[in-house]
Each structure stands twice: as C-alpha cells, then as structure tokens.
C-alpha cells in the first residue's frame, strides 16, 4: 500500500515508546502531508542531537557539552552527590527542586539475568568522581525494585570504604495516597523509614 520510503518512515517511528503501527502510520502521513516544515525541523534536530549529544564526562548524564550544565554550575554543592539510575531520574529529582548537590548516573542497575554484574556498572568512575570532588555525602536514589535495592546496597558498601556519609532516599506512601490502596511492601518500608514527630 505504501511506497518503500514511506514504509520505512512508518517502521522507524515505531521505535518510539507507545507508538503502535496505527499511530506510526498517522504520524508519518501527517508529517508528509501537512507539516513539511515541522518534519524538516524534526529530521534536523534528530540528526544533530544524535551527532552531538553524548555523556557528561563527570556525571554521565546526556549533554552535548563535555560537562553538563549542572556539573558546571558553581552554585551546586560538589560535596553532595546523588546517585541515580538514568538521566530521566536526574530530571525527576531536579523537578522536585530541593536537591542542591550534583549527580552521578549509573546508566542502569545490577541485573545479573541481563548480564549486568558489579563490573558492568562502572563504579570505578564513581569512585574517581567521589575522590576528585571530595564528596562528603552520597544519596543513593536507585529504583525501589529488587535490582535497585541490590544496586544501592552494593554501591553503599563501596562508598563506605571511602569514609563518606551514605544514605538512601526513603520509600513510602505517595502524597495523596490512601493506605488502603498501598501495597504491603511499600507499607512495610514506610513503617521502617518512619520519622519521629
């Protein structure tokens, strides 16, 4: 039904999360039929980003500069380091707005079944950063999954040997959450991490 070039466009749009064959088709036709300018901009932006965006040499988040803006910002406290799994987690914590230190992105978590063991996590980079910036406090903000917990524990053990304060973000009942609907595991963790009033 479609010519090879259009087919290829539809197929490539499907790499986007949540885009099935129908929506890929819609998008492709929209770009070709109604928004040539937008399509051109998209193509250029994609090409340029792909060519230029790499990893920050210090925290490993995505950036086209050698060092990302956060790492360059003199107002951010280099002695306080938050360790996260992905660049998206940096964005999430930044949007909360209360953390004023710097980040380190693990680019994943321990997942032996997927072939990611301690060696694949690249923690030597983290150790170098901690020593170079004379980090005093590390906050581990890995996901609260089994693998995230294991990763957290592993990193904590490593960092403790460097004599710095290591803490883990708390897990708990979400804001606006009703206890009745919170699963048992979350409740158990929330109880464990309770706060004195």
């Amino acid at each position: 039904m479609f010519s090879p070039l259009i087919k290829e466009l539809i197929e490539s749009l499907r790499c986007l999360p949540g885009v099935g064959p129908r929506s890929a088709q819609k998008m492709a036709l929209y770009l070709l039929e109604r928004d040539h300018q937008g399509a051109d901009r998209l193509a250029n932006a994609l090409r340029e980003a792909l060519d230029k965006v790499g990893r920050c040499s210090s925290c490993r988040t995505l950036t086209e500069e050698t060092e990302c803006q956060l790492c360059q910002d003199p107002d951010r406290d280099a002695k306080s380091l938050c360790i996260v799994e992905t660049p998206a987690d940096v964005v999430a914590i930044e949007s909360a707005g209360s953390f004023k230190g710097r980040y380190f992105v693990l680019l994943g978590h321990l997942s032996p079944i997927d072939g990611i063991g301690p060696e694949e996590l690249g923690l030597d980079r983290l150790e170098i950063l901690v020593q170079h910036n004379q980090v005093e406090e590390a906050i581990i903000a890995t996901n609260s999954t089994v693998e995230g917990e294991a990763t957290c524990h592993y990193i904590a053990e490593k960092l403790k040997t460097l004599n710095i304060n290591v803490s883990r973000i708390a897990h708990g009942v979400p804001m606006g959450g009703e206890l009745e609907y919170v699963d048992g595991n979350t409740l158990a963790l929330a109880l464990e991490g309770r706060k004195k009033l």
């Binding site: 949540g18 032996p112 079944i113 592993y154 979400p174 699963d183 048992g184 595991n185």
Partner: protein
C-alpha cells in the same frame, strides 16, 4: 488461568507494559506481559511477594490480567538480597518454560523465607542447588559409584562429570577429575550434613563445576556479588581433595 507466582525478573516492554518472568506453582516458569496500572500507582511487582496471578493465552507469552499479593512482604537486604538474585539467575538459566515444577516453587519459597531468618547463607544456597538439580533430573550421585557400587566411607574417590565417582588408588588419572573425595564426605553430602565444614566445602566446589557444565560455560553474573573465596584447601595433582576430618 489462575496461578500462585513469584516474580523472578522484569523487563521493560512497551510504554506502559512490562515483561514478567514468573515462577508459578502450577505452570513452572512462565513469561507474561503485564500492563502497568496508571501512572500514580505504578509499582513494578517483585520483592519476594507471592502473588495470585490471573493470566491467559496459550502461547509462550501469556497476558497477565491481574496480579495481587497474597502475603505480607519480606524485606531482604545485603547478602541475602544478593543470594536471591543468584537464585533468580539460576532459575532463569536452568528452568524450561511452561513445565509444571511445583517442588521448585516450594523450594524457592523455602529459600527466601530462610534467607529472611538470618541464618548462614552458604548452606541455604547449597541446599537450594541440590533441590534444583534433583528436580531437574540433574542430581549429583554421591552415594554410589558410576558402576553402581555403594560408596564406602573409608575409600578415596575421584569424581568426573561423565563417570561420577570412581575408587581412587593413587594412580595418575587418565582424565583429570573435578575433585577427589573421601567416601565419608561423599556420604555426608548425600545425607545433607550441611553443618559439616568439609561437606559444605565439597558442595561449593562440586556445584560450581556442575553449574558451569550445565550452562556450558555461560557465566553466572551474580556470582560476582557473593563473597569470593577460591578453594584454599588441600589439593592432589592440582585438584581439590576433600578428606574426612
């Protein structure tokens, strides 16, 4: 189909879906796709909870319709948590899918509950491995020789993958064995004497080799998380030897 299940592994799939590897009582290891609940309540299932799972589909990939925990949670940290990751990796790498293995489900349940109780981890893992091998029909025979003779406590044996135990009289073996073992230690292994240091040490060496051969050398990544203690006991012709103490 309604099954009791533990989540062994999760992988992102599409935007709001994940792939679940479930160890079920009824169907053994199964794979399913699960649509995560709406964003506010998005929780990746796991954490050693026994779930009641409703799933459908005849193919290899089931559709998980609902997933509800039927048990209060277990909190595992540190080494016990690594031990579970190790158990998960073994299950993933050794179990066929869609084959009912209820005893392995029970074995896994026993393992995580025992790990929570804070007892020594190595004997638990060795017992888990023995259970896994025997349920999969890959058990290690330490009670009789390859020729079917009963093991004698006072005899020294050599152990090969292919031939099992063979009496050893001090000659240079044609094929390098995995290890040498006193009959008494072999029988202790068979009897599950996990408080015996030699038995435990034998099991560690034996299982490591056994797993490597079952997996044809494919690495077990989670080993890197467990304490590394290379064999430091006695050797004979460069091969570990386990003598009754």
């Amino acid at each position: 189909m309604r099954v009791s299940a533990y989540v062994i592994h999760t992988r992102p799939f599409q935007d709001s879906k994940i792939l679940l590897d479930l160890l079920t009582f009824e169907q053994g290891l199964i794979r399913g796709v699960w649509r995560l609940p709406k964003k506010e309540a998005r929780v990746i299932p796991g954490s050693f909870l026994c779930y009641e799972v409703e799933c459908s589909g005849r193919g290899d990939l089931k559709t998980v319709k609902s997933l509800e925990s039927v048990q209060s949670s277990l909190v595992l940290e540190g080494l016990p948590l690594y031990a579970v990751l190790y158990a998960h990796e073994l299950l993933e790498k050794l179990l066929p899918t869609n084959l009912p293995l209820p005893d392995i489900f029970t074995l896994y349940q026993w393992l995580i509950q025992s790990l929570c109780s804070g007892v020594a981890i190595a004997p638990l893992l060795r017992r888990f491995e023995v259970g896994l091998f025997s349920e999969l029909g890959m058990g290690i025979n330490m009670v009789s020789t390859g020729r079917g003779e009963r093991v004698k406590p006072n005899q020294l044996y050599q152990f090969h993958h292919k031939f099992g135990l063979r009496p050893y009289h001090g000659e240079t073996p044609k094929q390098r064995p995995i290890l040498f073992v006193d009959g008494a230690v072999a029988l202790g292994y068979h009897a599950g004497q996990w408080t015996d240091k030699q038995v435990l040490s034998l099991a560690k060496e034996l299982h490591r080799n056994w797993l490597d051969s079952l997996l044809s050398g494919k690495p077990i990544v989670s080993r890197g998380l467990l304490p590394k203690q290379p064999f430091q006991g006695e050797r004979h012709l460069g091969v570990p030897i386990f003598r009754a103490l």
